[in-house]
Every structure is written in C-alpha cells, then in structure tokens.
C-alpha cells in the first residue's frame, strides 16, 4: 500500500472516530430531559414571595431572586404539568393558554413575573382580581410541574422538553402564527361518537 493510501485510511479513521464520539455525545443532554421522577422533593430554593410592582427601589440595586426549576427541562414534568393544568381547571380562566377571564399565558407579558419562583408564588399565594391561592391544595411538587408547563406555553423552557400540541382543540397566540391564514380559522367539533 502506498503511503498516500495509508494517509487516506488514517484520515478516514480519524473522521470516523470524531463522528462516532459526536454521535455518542449527542444523546447526553437526554438524561435530564427524559428522567421520570415519580416522587421527590420539589426544586430547591425558596420561592420569591416578594412581588415588585414598581421598578423604583431605594438604595443600591437588589439582587432579583432567580429560582431555577429543574422541571423546566424535564419533559415528563412538563407533560404532568399539562395534565394538572387541565385537571385543576386552570383552563377555566386561562383557556389553553389563550386567556379568557384570566390573562393569556402564551404571550410574553407577565404581570407578576415569569421566573419560576414568581409563577410558583402566583399559584400558591393567589393574586388580586381573581387568581385564587392554591396553597395547601396543590402539593408543591405538582405546583412546580404546573410552573414548568405554564412557562413552556410561553416558550420559556427548552423546546426539546415541550410537546408540540395536546390532544385538544388548538389555540393560537398571535406571535406564533407564522403564516397568516387568509380567512379566520374557527374551531371544529367532531361528531361525539364517531361510530357505533
């Protein structure tokens, strides 16, 4: 074999090796996303109880408390949050994110903040004008799952941990419509029982 060929073989070998290593690394981030934790303590960090209604503050700048929610990156927690969102009738006021009596949750506007800790506090403490307090009702681990789901609706969590849709009718936030239909889309009701 000429040295040229040997070089080629070595180069191909290197390429193959690099490709293999990359391929093996690809699924590593999966660990967090795919884990299914059935019973465990909720994410650490005290929820920020303080809701700041003004940007003005005395003295030197205060650290905003940023609680991270490890459920944000966990697909199972987000999907459990989605289930609980329906079960606890969050949709009664917020619809499937589009809003109704309560504010929409799919957009980027947050009255009481979009950090996990803030949403957690909003759920647990309640807010004026209709948001009830769920403290003592919803176990905190479930509340954190709901937080993850609510944030996923606003695309604040990693896309890989969100699902594309639920098995119900679609709701569209303005910002997510990539292509405007020429005619308004109305909902459709399938026959209740399709066949005997």
């Amino acid at each position: 074999m000429s040295s040229h060929c040997a070089d080629g073989a070595r180069a191909a070998g290197r390429r193959l090796l690099v490709g293999l290593v990359l391929a093996l690394m690809l699924p590593l981030p999966a660990c967090d996303r795919e884990e299914r934790r059935f019973s465990e303590a909720p994410p650490s960090g005290a929820p920020s109880n303080v809701v700041r209604m003004s940007t003005l503050q005395p003295g030197p700048a205060m650290m905003t408390s940023r609680t991270s929610n490890r459920y944000d990156e966990n697909a199972y927690a987000v999907s459990q949050g989605q289930r609980l969102y329906a079960w606890y009738n969050c949709a009664g006021c917020h619809a499937n994110g589009g809003g109704g009596m309560g504010p929409p949750l799919m957009d980027a506007e947050w009255i009481y903040g979009s950090e996990p800790g803030q949403i957690f506090a909003t759920i647990m403490q309640g807010r004026p004008n209709g948001m009830p307090s769920w403290a003592g009702r919803i176990p905190s681990s479930q509340a954190w799952q709901i937080v993850a789901y609510v944030r996923s609706m606003a695309a604040l969590t990693p896309a890989s941990a969100r699902n594309s849709r639920a098995d119900h009718m679609m709701t569209w936030p303005e910002s997510q419509i990539m292509m405007e239909p020429k005619h308004p889309v109305q909902s459709f009701t399938p026959p209740a029982a399709v066949q005997p």
């Binding site: 999966a30 660990c31 795919e34 594309s164 639920a166 119900h168």
Partner: protein, 652 residues
C-alpha cells in the same frame, strides 16, 4: 445452449497459467481497497452482507438481553428489579429491535449474500445502493440502542398506538426515536428489496428461466415484492404522520381537530401483518434449500411450492384487521378477515407437506442444518395452529393482547425465522468463510435452542388463558402466575445458553473449522460452483443453468462439469444482464466502482433524521447535505468508461 459444443474444458492443465493471469486480473478489477478505506467504500455484496448479518445478529443479542432482563423482572410476582418506566422501554426496544433490526434485515442480509451467487451474478444489481442501505440500517440500530442506554428508549410498545405515543401522552423524545428508527430501517429495507428484485429479475444466469429459479430465490422475490407494498405504509405513518404530529403539531391523530387514532392502527397493521410473512417467507426458502441439500433430492412439488409462496404473499395483505377485532369496526368486515386469516394456513400447510414428502422419498442426512429445518416444522406448526385459532373473532377477543398472543408470535417468529436462520448458517457458513461449523457443538446448539424455545414459550399459552395480559411489568401473587413465569424465565436462560454455544461455535470454527472446499455438501445450486469463500468477482465465467438443480445431473448426484459462458471483460466491472422470463443473455451492464459516497449520503441522512427529532429545519439542511453527497455518488468518474460519447471537459 442445450447441446454442448465439443470445446475443450477451460480447466486443462496447459491453460493453468492463462487461468492464473485471468483470475489475477479479475481480482484487481473487483477487489475492494484494503483497510478502513476499503471498509467504507466497498460495494461487494458479500462484504456488505457479512457485516449486515453480523450487525443484525448483534442487535438480536442486545434485544435478547432486553428480554432476559424482562424475564428476570417477571420471574416472581411483585419483583422490584426493574420499575415500570425502564420495563416499558425494555419491551418496546425488544420488540422494535427484533422486528425492525433483526427479523427482516437478517433475512435481507442473508439474501444479499446468497441471491447474487445463487443466480450466478458477479455482484448485486445496485451495489452502491446496497452499501447505502447498510449504513442507514446501522445508524437506525445504533440510534435505537444508544437511546435505550441513555434512558430515551421508546416506551409506547413496538406498534406505538396513538394517543399513547402522541405528543400529549409520550413526553420527551422517546417516541420520536422510535419513529426515526423506523424511518432508517424502512429505507434500508426498501432499497435492499429493490436491489434483490432487480438482481433476480435481470441478472440471472443464462438459462435460469422462471421455472428454474431456486425456491429460496423465489421466496426472496416474493418477500421483496411484499416489502415494496408494505413498508411505505409504516414509513409514511411514522415519518410523515406520527413524527409530524409530535414535531410540528399536525392533527392526523388528534380527534379534537378531526384526526383519528384508528387510522394509525389501520396503517400500522397494513404494514404489520404482511411483515410477519416478510419475515418468515425467506425462512421457508432456507428450509427448502436445507431439505433439498440434505435429502439429496429436489424439493417435491416445485410449481405448488412457488404458487404457495405467491398466494401467501398476496393474501397476507388481506389480514391486517385481525389485529383490530376489539376496536369499533363493522361486523361484516371481521368475517372476511377471519376467512382470509384461516385460508392463509393452506399454502403454508402445502409447503410443509411437500417437504415431508421430499424427506420421505430422499436420503436424509441429519446434519445440524437439517435438524434446524426439522425443528422449524415442529415448532412453527404450533405457531401456525394457534394462528388459525386466533383468526376466530370470538376466540381472539379472549386472548388478544395476552400472553397467549405472545406465545403464538414467538412460536411463529422463532420457528419461522430463527430456526431456519440458524439452519441456513450451518448450511452456508462454509461458503461464506471457507470452513465448516462444528457439528458437535451444533447438536448442542440445536438441542438447547429447541428445548429453550418450548420451555420459554409454551407455558405462555397457559398464562394467557389464565388471564395474564402482555406488557405488564409485574403481577400480584394472588394471580397464581408465578410458577409458570419462573418456568418461562428458565426457558429464556436455556435460549441464552444455546445462543452462547452458537457464538462459541462460530468463533472457534472461524479459526479451526474443517476446510470446506468449493462444495462440501455436494449441493445443487450455483453458489457452490465457486471457491469458498467466493472471490470478489464471484464467478470466473458466467455459469449457465440447465435445470432447477444445475450442479446435479440427477437427484443428489453431482454433475461432472459446469457449462459456462465466456466473454465478460476481465479488465472492467461488467455483469451480464439477461431477459426477465427466459434469462437469455442481453447486455453487459457497466458496474459501478467502489466509492465512499453512499456512506456519506447515509451519514448526511443520519444527521437529517436524527436532527429532525429536535427540529424540522434539519429536513431542510439535511436535504442539502444529502443532495451534495448524492451528486458525488452519481457523478461519473470516467474510469473504465465504456463507449465514450464525450470525454470529461477540462477546467475552463
């Protein structure tokens, strides 16, 4: 062609030097490059088939280990060895791998090795496509098992029923991995089917008319035709529908927006039922070859055998609804599907009778391969009979989705795929490696495998009748299923032992096996008319086929000489193309050179489909990459140009 010209045999001693020169020339023309470059670029069907078979077998072992873990968990009631999350991944990957990564591909891989040799061709019809198919398959399989090992294994069952596998109830990327594994394997399966189809139709040895095609090759022809019509259904349903529902929120299966979960079941089983026949029809072909070789006579009832294969292949498409008897579908349709499901037993029965008749009138030698063929009849018949039972709607409704079904399809698949596969390995191992497998270890292998299969799967019938549903990760002690489950687990360990014996036999025989020579069994078909292992060009001269058993002058008696045709240019890669029906020589096709681009094409599609688990944009980028790879693949190099019309233009 029927009257031999009184020409001198080419093998005369004075021609030895000329022969050596010609062989060296052929070797230079056809041999793949050495080292890893050769590994990536080769388009030799034998090299690709060898690694294909080994790869599928590795997946078989891995999927089998999944089964062992499952059996340990089920061996006693309320075991806590494996939790439900893990267990669901294990059984889903077990089923998916056995179906998509073993049963079908191993049969195609064997066919890729054997068919060109059996029809007397120099290589497979589309060798680059062949290489591409292998790489696609490899990526799909590695994707599935890597995912399992990083806790992303699919967990919705191998038939991924929506809505459980849909975006709402299958969180994360697990089902997407399943859908793309299916994409990879279906692409690989489809291209292999096309190559084999065209190889059989267009590159048969002169004289191999339709009525002289070996039964094994017929079985591959039927299987490949079935794949062409069955695989698109699942490829479309998983890649274009399920994956899209999960990725870009289409509504094929969302009832609230007009979709329908039963649509998935129809599409899946339209593929899934023929799949069963796609798996075991090649097995029937193996059995025909084994019975013919070791009974020392041609299989009795050739036209009936061929007709049976064709009928089976056709009727197999009319059975899919019998997987859906418990769903809301019209009553009348069910009777039709029952009738079809019952009727399909006839052609298979006919074939079994013909083999028995062949053995009866022949001079059977009970080699390991023959024992596997006999084991096939003994085991597979049980699966066939329980298959007739569950064609009945009322009975099916009692055992559907229970361990009775698990028992039934394991009898069918182990009986119809694994037994013939092992038999085929014992038959053709000497051809592939040049050495015989040990018959002594072979007896242990066949004995343990037979015992293990029955101990593991027969009790499952009883468990199913006793109410045990499939796919449960545990059960209560009060159900009383514990002892039989323990027995099943014991059977599983026996199977493990037998497969271990087989692996040892292969490894030992590769080094120390008895040298085989060209034709150790004095067999009948053309693959035995070339050295073992065959040279890269398969045959020095194109063999000519004058009967169904071209190497026999009469039943079991080796012919004195082999008629051949000369005239293929040894300087170039040429293969002889013949006519479809009568196999008359028609033209000399220019055969492509080795190239790494099928590999890069598969790699770019790998990036595309794996990336598309996460973002639809990978379809756009990946299509660009794949187009570049394909351009390099298809671009003529001008090497060995034949009848050049216009030379390559220099740089302007």
């Amino acid at each position: 062609m029927t009257t031999h010209a009184p020409a001198a045999a080419v093998d005369d001693p004075q021609d030895a030097r000329r022969e050596a020169e010609e062989l060296a020339l052929l070797e230079r023309t056809w041999a793949p490059a050495r080292g890893i470059r050769g590994w990536l670029t080769t388009t030799d069907h034998k090299a690709i088939a060898r690694r294909y078979v080994v790869t599928t077998f590795v997946f078989f072992v891995l999927a089998g280990l999944n089964a062992v873990l499952m059996r340990l968990q089920l061996s006693r009631p309320e075991m806590t060895l494996i939790g439900p999350d893990r267990y669901n991944q294990l059984f889903t990957v077990h089923g998916t791998a056995m179906m998509f990564l073993f049963a079908v591909p191993v049969m195609q891989a064997m066919a890729i090795y054997l068919v060109p040799l059996m029809v007397g061709a120099r290589n497979i019809s589309f060798p680059r496509l062949n290489a591409f198919g292998y790489w696609m398959f490899l990526i799909g399989g590695v994707l599935l098992f890597t995912s399992l090992y990083v806790n992303t294994g699919p967990d919705a069952g191998w038939f991924s029923y929506v809505p459980l596998s849909g975006p709402e109830y299958s969180a994360g990327k697990r089902t997407d991995v399943w859908a793309q594994t299916v994409t990879f394997t279906e692409v690989a399966g489809l291209v292999a089917a096309v190559e084999l189809l065209v190889t059989i139709l267009k590159t048969r040895a002169p004289g191999m008319t339709l009525a002289r095609i070996p039964l094994y090759v017929w079985s591959i022809l039927v299987t490949s035709l079935m794949i062409v019509f069955a695989f698109p259904a699942v490829a479309m349903a998983s890649t274009m529908m399920l994956a899209m529902d999960r990725l870009v929120a289409t509504h094929f299966f969302n009832q609230a927006e007009g979709g329908d979960p039963l649509l998935w079941q129809h599409l899946f089983w339209f593929f899934g039922h023929p799949e069963v026949y796609i798996m075991f029809i090649p097995g029937l072909g193996f059995v025909s070859s084994i019975v013919e070789t070791f009974s020392r006579r041609k299989v009795f009832g050739y036209p009936v055998m061929v007709a049976s294969l064709l009928v089976t292949g056709f009727v197999a498409f009319g059975l899919w609804v019998h997987h859906m008897f418990a769903t809301p579908i019209p009553q009348l349709g069910r009777s039709f599907f029952t009738a079809a499901s019952v009727l399909i037993a006839v052609p298979t029965g006919v074939q079994i009778f013909c083999w028995i008749a062949t053995i009866w009138s022949g001079r059977p030698k009970l080699t390991t391969a023959m024992l596997f063929a006999i084991g096939f009849i003994v085991v597979f018949t049980i699966g066939g009979l329980s298959g007739v039972m569950i064609a009945s709607v009322p009975f099916d409704l009692q055992v559907h989705d229970t361990f009775f079904i698990v028992a039934h399809f394991h009898y069918v698949i182990l009986g119809g795929v694994v037994f013939p596969f092992f038999g085929a390995v014992y038959l053709w191992f000497p051809k592939i490696t040049g050495r015989l497998l040990s018959e002594r270890l072979g007896r242990w292998h066949v004995g343990l495998f037979f015992a293990g299969t029955n101990v593991a799967f027969f009790p499952m019938h009883l468990l199913g009748l006793d109410g045990m549903p499939r796919r449960i990760y545990t059960y209560l002690p009060e159900t009383g299923w514990g002892n039989l489950n323990l027995l099943v687990t014991l059977g599983a360990t026996i199977i493990v032992a037998s497969v271990a014996v087989f692996i040892v036999n292969v490894l030992v025989s590769l080094r120390h096996g008895v040298r085989a020579g060209e034709d150790p069994w004095a067999a009948a078909t053309l693959e035995w008319a070339t050295p073992s292992p065959p040279p890269s060009y398969n045959f020095r001269h194109v063999p000519v086929c004058e009967s169904r058993a071209p190497l026999w002058s009469e039943d079991g008696v080796p012919a004195a000489a082999l008629p051949v045709m000369t005239g293929l240019d040894a300087h170039k890669r040429q293969i002889l193309v013949t006519t479809v029906l009568d196999a008359l020589p028609d033209n000399r096709h220019k055969h492509p050179e080795d190239t790494p681009w099928p590999f890069w094409m598969a790699a770019s599609l790998g990036v595309t489909f794996i990336g598309a688990i996460f973002s639809p944009w990978f379809y756009v980028w990946g299509a660009g990459l794949a187009t570049l790879a394909f351009a390099k693949w298809a671009w003529p190099t001008g090497k060995y140009a034949e009848d050049l019309v216009m030379p390559k233009r220099g740089p302007r």
